[in-house]
Every structure is written in structure tokens, then in C-alpha cells.
């Protein structure tokens, strides 16, 4: 699988990589290793690479852009490094956003959207913050809101792009435990990217993107 941005050099060149359903994979990716690009490809945001890429049984290369958007909206939860939240929506609206963007995601909810949002918030211990403005939350709280949003409706795949790097060490572990528990309850696959090798031991499998990616610098 190869990928290059239009007019740029190849950023991703991976011979083969398989992640099983339900796996919790730690992907070690120092900056410049092409991790954000890889995640963009898996999430179907970037145009498909040459070679083959299957996500949750779908051949991403065969999907149109709207179909990839739908796949992402319905089956993938995404957590950024930081600034995960829409600043002008409150916590509740931020968590509910994926469902409001893609109606398919609603079908995955047990019960109403309001209950699902409350459940997700409770799971991550932020049920008291639902009506807060997101700009008033601490970074740790913001990341938990982001996780609650990613887990809403239990999507099959959770992609986390260095979600803990903005947190201090003890909060990092706490967040990770919370995330693991939620992912386990939801039965989701977790693809966790970080350059913090200290976290690798917590995962089922640990991979290094710099080893996998032949295009990496």
C-alpha cells in the first residue's frame, strides 16, 4: 500500500499490515513517520492509496468519497491528540454530533440519543459536565468528552491519534484504563497511535510505524 499527497513524495509505503477485530493495537509513530496520513487513509478521509486497504471488510479503494464518509461516520470513532471538540457546542451536543451527522449511527444506539449520550458520559465519568461549555473544560475532561463521542453507538473501530500526549503521566494512565474498559464493553477494535513507548505494554500488540513504513524518514 502506497500513498502520496498530490504533487508530493510517497509518505506511506507499507508492505502488509493486518489488525484483527477486537484487537488493541499500539502503533508507535514518532513524528514524521506518516502516522496521521495512515490514520486518514484508514478513516477514509484521504483519497484511497494504491494497493489494497480493507477496513472492517470494506475495500476502501472501491468506495466513493461519500461512501467512505458514511463508513467512517457509522463504524469508526476518532479521537484526536487535542482540540477534539467543536468550540461552540456544549458537551452534550459534542458527544451527540456523530449521530446527528450520520443517521446510520443512530441505529447502533440502544435506546434514545439522549440516553446513549448520558450512558457514554457516565462511562467516562463526565456525566456532570454534560451542559458545560467545552471551552471551560480541562484538557483531561476534553479528552474524555472526545472518547465518549468516539464510543457513542459502539463503533467497531476506534482510532486514537495520541489522545494522551496532552495529559500528564498519572492522568494518562487513568485515561487509558478508562478507554480500554469502554472499548472492551463496546467490543471495538482499538488502533492507538503514540510516540510514547511507555504505554505500549498495556496493549495486546505493539507495532512500530517506522519499521512498517518503508517511505518513512
Amino acid at each position: 500500500m502506497r500513498f502520496a499527497y498530490p504533487g508530493g513524495a510517497t509518505v506511506i509505503d507499507i508492505a502488509a499490515l493486518t489488525i484483527e477485530r477486537g484487537e488493541r493495537v499500539f502503533l508507535y509513530g514518532p513524528s514524521g513517520s506518516g502516522k496521521t496520513t495512515l490514520l486518514g487513509l484508514v478513516a477514509g478521509v484521504l483519497r484511497p492509496p494504491s494497493g489494497t486497504l480493507h477496513v472492517l471488510g470494506h475495500d476502501v479503494g472501491a468506495l466513493s468519497s461519500p461512501a467512505r464518509d458514511r463508513l467512517r461516520a457509522t463504524h469508526i470513532g476518532y479521537i484526536f491528540q487535542m482540540f477534539n471538540l467543536i468550540p461552540y457546542l456544549n458537551v452534550r451536543d459534542n458527544i451527540a454530533l456523530p449521530v446527528r451527522i450520520a443517521s446510520e449511527r443512530r441505529d447502533r444506539l440502544n435506546g434514545s440519543l439522549a440516553t446513549a449520550v448520558a450512558d457514554a458520559a457516565t462511562h467516562l465519568g463526565i456525566e456532570g459536565l454534560l451542559d458545560e461549555e467545552v471551552t471551560r473544560l480541562s484538557v483531561g475532561q476534553q479528552q474524555r468528552v472526545a472518547a465518549a463521542r468516539a464510543l457513542l453507538g459502539s463503533p467497531e473501530l476506534i482510532i486514537a491519534d495520541e489522545p494522551t500526549s496532552a495529559l500528564d503521566t498519572d492522568r494518562r494512565i487513568a485515561f487509558l484504563e478508562l478507554l480500554f474498559r469502554s472499548v472492551e464493553d463496546a467490543g471495538s477494535t482499538l488502533l492507538f497511535v503514540s510516540h510514547d513507548l511507555g504505554l505500549a505494554d498495556e496493549f495486546d500488540r505493539s507495532l512500530s510505524l517506522s519499521d512498517l513504513n518503508r517511505a518513512g524518514g
Binding site: 496520513t37 461516520a73 469508526i76 468550540p87 457546542l89 456523530p98 450520520a102
Partner: protein, 421 residues
């Protein structure tokens, strides 16, 4: 629904920018709509300068020229009509009344109009309002003069003042009829029409002041005719007038009288229906108004452009937001729609605010405009043209949103989930 919700929240989140942008659109829309209101008001004020008159009659010439010198006090007549001809029409069975006008002299730049008592009884303006005297009485004696409201205010004259009349329209009176002073006997109520800017004497008064001037030049020293000489005369013989206003016995007779006057063998004359001539004239001068319209159109464009710039510049700060929406499954089209919707909402708010400003402004300024300029700008529902303008502004707003939206679309496609700075 989601997009509308997002667009609204996003706009309220940037409240200051949003309100400033909406305000600038509001002002431009207010200008556009307000110009239309003033235009309507002007047209109506204009066509109501004189009312209740069926025909205005003068010596043969252009209808607009006749209207200009008779109603607006501008320009001068080419020829006069004889007193006898006017009298004939005054006594015509189909004619109810006539107001004679004898023009040609001035007092310190204001026109002197020789007329008779019918003027005070029959002259109507703006929807049939009669003129009335604020002070004193109508001019009846040879040397009586009644002042229009503007003349009285500007020159500070009061009843009993003695004034001299100038031959011709020069403000500098080097050819004054000094030998015959007139006395102010009345001052008219303000009408906000050209009536305010003239002084009124009797037909005899105009004749008297020209005695000794028959050649057109001032009398030779020693040959002046003095006021006392005139008063000593048994009768002042009026031989000419300039034009006359005519009221028919019934409206239906107007066209018949007009035809009869135009084809009259005795003297070449032109008769115009004021309403028709006024709207003809309005068409002639409304080009200026079109210019005003074009300018306010450009102001709106500038307002929209300002919005475009403000949304465009906000995009950089919102790349993060776009990436989040993308990650949550929003397609690039959603991003485009969101920005277009924001622009549309902004311009719609601006347009609504602008219309509100116009009504508020009219409400406050209407009395002042009427008092100061005699311009009655009516407060009524937006007319078709104005609604079309407001609609066009909103559509334009949506269209302008496409520019930042396309930029965001490209950024979203390229950035993916990262935000490269």
C-alpha cells in the same frame, strides 16, 4: 437541521464579528431600501406639487416649460397671452374657475407672481390641501403684496414692510421699480411646495409697476410713474398675463377644453394636464434617481464583499473545526453547505436588520423630512421592487458563501484529519 444548528451556534460563537458583519450588510440594505422609499416620496411629493387643477394654460410652447415656469417657478415664458383671451376662458361655460399668473419680475431673487383672489380660494397642493394665510389678508389693492412662507422667513419680513420689485429675475436690483413700493399685507402658511418661494401681488400691481417701462427699459428721469399717479387712476388696465390654472366644471370636460384651447384660432396656446405633464417630467429627471439606485447597489456589493472577507479570514482559525467534522463523518459537501448556510444566514439577518433600520429611521425622520424639505416619505409595506432587492441581497449572500466554502472544501480534502500550519 444539523447544519442550521451548527451554523447558528457557530455564528453566535463569533458574536462580535457576526454582529459587525450583519450590521454592515444591514446598513447597505437600509440604504438600498431607503433610497427606494425616498424615491417614492419624492415622486409623490413632486406629482402633488399642484393638485385639483385640471389644466395649466400658457402661450404655445413645450409642456414641460409651461409646467416649469407656472408651477416650479423656473425658467421664463416665451410669450404672454392676452387678458381678453384669459377672460374669455374664465367665462367659458365649461370652466369653473381660473387662476391667472403674470410673471417676469422678482424681489431679491424670489419670483413675483401677479394673480387674483381666486388663487387664495382655489389653489390646491398635495392631495387637495388649500393654501391659507398665516397672517394678514390676500393682496387686493394695487400695491399689496403677500409673501410665500419661505420668502418671509428668509428675508425676515413682517406685515406692513415696504418692498421694491426688480424687473427681471436678477437678485441684484439695479433695475428696481423703486418708484413704486409695495406693502406686505399677508404671509402664506408653509406648503413645502414652490408656492413658498414666491411673492404674490395683484394683476394690476404687475401692470402698474411696468408703467413708464413700456419700452422694456427703465423710464427716463422725470418720466417715472409714481405710486400716487397710479392710485389716482380710475382703473389700471391689465393687458397681458402669462398663464392660467383652470378648473373645469367637471373632470370629464377637461379633454374637451384642452382640445378647444389647443386648436383655438385667436391665440396660439398650450394646455397641459398637470398630472400627465408632471409624470412626463418625472421620467425626464428620474435618471438621477437611477444613479442613486446604482450607487446603493454597489454599497450592498461592498457589504456582501465584507462578509465574504470576514468568513474567508475566519476559515484559517476554523480548520481544526473542519477536521473534527470530517473525522466525525461529515463529507466535504457538508462543510461547503455549512459555510454557505452561515453566509446566507448572515446576509438574511443583515437584510432583516436593514429593513428594520429603514422603518425605525423613517419613523424618527419622517416629521423632520417633511418639515425641512417638504418631502413626505410614506411609511408602508415594502413594495415589489424593495422585496426583490432584499431577496437579491439574501441570494447574493448565499452565493458569496460559496467562495470561502470552496476554499474550505479544498482545505478539507487536502488536510484530511491533520491541520498543517
Amino acid at each position: 437541521m444539523l447544519l442550521l444548528h451548527l451554523a447558528r451556534r457557530s455564528l453566535t460563537n463569533r458574536l462580535l464579528t457576526t454582529s459587525l458583519t450583519a450590521l454592515s450588510i444591514a446598513f447597505s440594505v437600509a440604504l438600498l431600501v431607503g433610497v427606494e422609499n425616498v424615491r417614492t416620496g419624492m415622486r409623490e411629493s413632486f406629482s402633488n406639487t399642484v393638485s385639483g387643477t385640471d389644466l395649466i394654460v400658457g402661450s404655445r410652447g413645450g409642456t414641460i416649460q409651461l409646467l416649469l415656469y407656472s408651477v416650479f417657478g423656473m425658467g421664463s415664458p416665451i410669450a404672454n397671452i392676452s387678458y381678453e383671451t384669459w377672460k374669455k376662458w374664465d367665462e367659458h361655460p365649461a370652466v369653473s374657475w381660473t387662476i391667472p399668473y403674470a410673471l417676469g419680475d422678482s424681489h431679491r431673487g424670489f419670483r413675483v407672481i401677479g394673480t387674483n383672489e381666486t388663487f387664495y380660494e382655489r389653489y390646491r397642493y398635495r392631495g387637495g390641501q388649500p393654501i391659507s394665510l398665516a397672517e394678514g389678508r390676500p393682496a387686493s389693492g394695487v400695491f399689496d403684496v403677500v409673501l410665500g412662507a419661505e420668502v418671509a422667513t428668509r428675508l425676515g419680513y413682517t406685515l406692513g414692510e415696504q418692498i421694491a420689485v426688480t424687473h427681471g429675475m436678477s437678485a441684484v436690483g439695479f433695475m428696481n421699480h423703486d418708484e413704486m413700493p409695495f406693502e406686505v399685507v399677508g404671509i402664506l402658511e408653509r406648503t413645502f411646495t414652490p408656492v413658498d418661494r414666491a411673492v404674490y401681488v395683484t394683476l394690476e400691481g404687475v401692470t402698474a409697476m411696468h408703467m413708464g417701462w413700456e419700452s422694456g427699459a427703465p423710464p427716463m428721469p422725470g418720466e417715472e410713474v409714481h405710486a400716487d399717479d397710479v392710485l389716482a387712476m380710475e382703473e389700471v388696465h391689465v393687458s397681458q398675463i402669462t398663464s392660467f390654472f383652470l378648473g373645469a366644471e367637471s373632470r370629464a370636460l377637461t379633454l374637451q377644453i384642452q382640445r378647444e384651447i389647443s386648436t383655438s384660432e385667436e391665440e396660439p396656446m398650450t394646455a397641459v394636464i398637470p398630472g400627465v405633464a408632471l409624470s412626463e417630467m418625472w421620467r425626464g429627471i428620474s435618471y438621477a434617481e437611477d444613479g442613486l439606485r446604482v450607487i446603493s447597489g454597489f454599497v450592498v456589493l461592498v457589504g456582501i464583499l465584507g462578509m465574504l472577507v470576514s468568513i474567508y479570514t475566519s476559515l484559517e482559525a476554523r480548520r481544526r473545526e473542519m477536521a473534527i467534522l470530517r473525522a466525525l463523518g461529515a463529507g466535504p459537501r457538508r462543510i461547503v453547505s455549512l459555510l454557505v448556510l452561515e453566509a446566507g444566514l448572515l446576509s438574511a439577518m443583515g437584510a432583516a436588520l436593514g429593513v428594520g433600520l429603514v422603518y425605525a429611521g423613517l419613523f424618527v425622520l419622517q416629521p423632520w423630512l417633511e418639515g425641512r424639505f417638504g418631502l413626505l416619505v410614506p411609511i408602508r409595506m415594502l413594495d415589489g421592487v424593495q422585496l426583490a432587492f432584499v431577496g437579491a441581497v439574501i441570494v447574493l449572500g448565499f452565493a458569496a458563501g460559496l467562495v470561502p466554502a470552496v476554499k474550505a472544501y479544498r482545505t478539507a480534502l487536502h488536510d484530511g484529519l491533520s491541520v498543517r500550519v
